[in-house]
Subunit: 398 residues, 2 copies
Amino acid sequence: MPKLNEHYQDLKESYLFSEIAHRVSAYSEAHPDANIIRLGIGDVTLPLGSLAIGGLHEGVNAMASAETFKGYGPEQGYEFLRKAISEYYARNGAEVEPADIFISDGAKSDTGNISELFSNDNVILIPDPVYPVYVDSNLMGGKHVTYISGNAENDFLPMPDPSVHADIIYLCSPNNPTGAVYNKAQLKEWVDYALANDAVILFDSAYEAFVSDPELPRSIYTIEGAKKCAIEFCSLSKTAGFTGTRCGYTVVPRELVFTASNGKEMSLHAMWNRRQCTKFNGTSYIIQKGASAVFSEEGMKQCQENIHYYQENARIIAETLKKKNIRFFGGVHSPYIWFECPDGMESWEFFDYLLNNAQVVGTPGAGFGENGKNYFRLTSFNNHENTIEAMKRFEKLF
Amino acid sequence: MPKLNEHYQDLKESYLFSEIAHRVSAYSEAHPDANIIRLGIGDVTLPLGSLAIGGLHEGVNAMASAETFKGYGPEQGYEFLRKAISEYYARNGAEVEPADIFISDGAKSDTGNISELFSNDNVILIPDPVYPVYVDSNLMGGKHVTYISGNAENDFLPMPDPSVHADIIYLCSPNNPTGAVYNKAQLKEWVDYALANDAVILFDSAYEAFVSDPELPRSIYTIEGAKKCAIEFCSLSKTAGFTGTRCGYTVVPRELVFTASNGKEMSLHAMWNRRQCTKFNGTSYIIQKGASAVFSEEGMKQCQENIHYYQENARIIAETLKKKNIRFFGGVHSPYIWFECPDGMESWEFFDYLLNNAQVVGTPGAGFGENGKNYFRLTSFNNHENTIEAMKRFEKLF
């Protein structure tokens, strides 16, 4: 009989969004006339820009004739896209060579798969609250996780504790779910800590395109020394509305070389390359054509128009919370607004309260970890009209 | 310092196709006027059918307006595609429910990732010669592999040895690289062996669309009992020319339930679902639209036209080998022709001989395992004209 990977028994049931859907549909059935407004899920709603659409059609057309047909592409991604992303990095103040960039079908795949490169005897720091993929992908492999606390005292931006040693550190900024953003000095402190500990930072910058203050880092590679200690994951999901189109990229600098127990040097870049060449066959040529259109200056302008639309929604939500003196995090350089549930409510309790009394759906913080259990996340991924209406109801309620 | 996954040191350098490219380019530089014909790589060359192209454009168009825009889709794939594949299975004589089908970006990802579901103390049988992904993905995870010998005596179709126990068995039919195909009686023997041993068969049917004899099984689920012991991987790469477009699917029957060491029952279907939901965000909606067009009856007719074209090339190669009394495998229900190198040559030696004397490029069998070291693979993925010319040169040579 096959012996199964029993570490899967260590996973908590992932019921967050199915439980939300279940409660919303029960309410909806009981109140068929209710106008429910959904500010819960972190998924974009605006269509792709015309340049991305043009690039995608071009990709499809190439598949229609023998002269331009594309079979297997390079597992690492096409040079035209790696180059376009490298140039995008340069415009944002980071020097990243095309050869260090791996194109994939999304940051979820890469942040999930990266743990394969590490053995099971590492000290792995993961913030709480957090995007659940970091935790679950490690637990699945039999790895042990040490949580670092994000909380109101540290503005949900946990900082390194020099007295504690770590080998691997997950950071996400702008953060999902809290919307908090590390500034350069804070990120520098993490990079210095990683260098001092010979540790690797796994940096998720999926929401970087929402950063509107040029002083805030959109890439960890804007910090000196980061190439010696950091892998960065990014994605077109939130940058360009590619959640259903699927394209991401991961930077693994060739500087990341460590010594194995037998004294041999092992390169994380070479390992990730081998991993991708063995278990991945490259991202669709069609999608890469669409992605490369996104990274042109004009394509990125179109993306920024959509992002401004979401940012305006975030501003509307933030204004309401300010007016009501509810302290919140995020909402400026992020599509997410994170706040403590009023009156000491737990997050699921507040979820029901908001649904029943304002017909507004959000996401209970408990879904993101222990530290989220009294917090709530609203997202800016709806239209202005609904966002304004939801906030009117919210105002009336408190 | 991070402790790396040192099992990566157990991998052999994967230099097969880069070494081929290197030798071809060296020859080409030395002989700039040589007309080199490539029958080496297993990659399609004909453009996609008009229905697939139409489906892909439709998918892109949906992304262009808010009413039809698609964000995150189900990680398991859209119901419309799972249903279309289920109906395709039915037309090929296998009953597979949509709920057991997981859509992915390709069979390489799934055959590579599946080993995560198993612990490291299993007896894992893998044929030699073989598609290298099965071996490498297991070695990467620290798993041990037991080879079963494919050779001329068993027509490169190794059969179970009832005296040896196994927990996990990899099979690929029609086979890459040998082109050999199990018949129903042989596959039944494997299914019966798996059931008797409580083992799981990981069945790769990526080349099923090349089977033209209705008596030969195109799916393991045409064999009684297979749902209790087999996972099947398939792909649109060879069926529909999607090597650069990227779409595959894997069937994990809900019947596959095994008991863990603590007595709890664990379902491979539930585990794979959890794996995909954690480390994968679904295949692009655009690509799934193209794929569903492929699985319509008309779409599949267009695919079959391309496959017939390749089959005709295979026939041309096979005829030449027959004429020259060289025993070969495959070439009928497969795009691959596999034969022993003449005059006792080793496969790299024969590679050079063929390149130097006939300007024809093939693939040395050594790249697929120990048992391939005196064998050679030719593929039918070129045009008729080149294939005919290559075979003329081949005939002259022997």
